[in-house]
Symmetry: C2
Subunit: 133 residues, 2 copies
């Protein structure tokens, strides 16, 4: 009775979310907040729309997230002087620190989740996930 790939992936997704939730709560950041911080660490963005597209989010539902992150001093978000319609986005030092701390905690849990696999198996699994996603 072989399960669909979809069911397996959904199961793992649920498990990872359950794992990450206490970590995110401990650091006082939402899932979307963390996703945004991570995206901006990887590359600063010139527009909110580009950021939204890069994380498969709607631009409108990002706005409350950005408001909150900015209010807490975790991101910079200033109008581009050369085109004042766009908002230049980037992490503040505090934002970079927080992203790093959350990611470290998440990595630790992921590592223990996969601890039954050998290092080579873990690498292959990650590699396949990257190719498929």
């Amino acid at each position: 009775m072989e399960k669909d790939l979809g069911a397996l992936v959904m199961g793992l997704g649920r498990r990872l979310i359950a794992m990450e939730q206490p970590i995110l709560a401990r650091h006082g950041v939402s899932m979307w907040g963390y996703v945004v911080l991570t995206a901006l660490r990887d590359n600063p963005m010139r527009t909110q729309a580009a950021l939204a597209a890069s994380i498969n989010a709607d631009k409108t539902r990002l706005i409350p997230v950005l408001d909150e992150l900015q209010r807490r001093g975790l991101i910079e978000r200033e109008p581009d002087p050369r085109d004042r319609r766009v908002r230049l986005l980037g992490l503040t030092p505090d934002g970079r620190d927080l992203q790093q701390r959350v990611q470290t905690d998440i990595r630790k849990d992921e590592k223990s989740l996969m601890s039954e696999m050998s290092d080579e198996e873990q690498a292959a699994f990650r590699r396949h996930l990257e190719k498929l996603s």
Copy 2:
């Protein structure tokens, strides 16, 4: 800049959903409808609550799904004569056929998705997913 496991899994999940949606639409069944049919094929259930628990769903949000499947003659859903509070659930022959057809189509797409991996790699990937999910 290594990505979180969560991001990779979510990406694959989105991709699989996008892949399955046209198939489900073609067969006129919803995602939850297919999940229910698959769960009942694997083992008939004595109560709706047990079915809900087995697929990580709330029992209340299953009811419209069961109504629809029953209306279309895809499931049986009759009160247990020995305790008329509970509904015995199972597939009709039509339901079993439909589940089989949808699953065959989904398997075909999954196979092409993973076609760049060798048979052994595919098996290992599935095995790891099963262990982790």
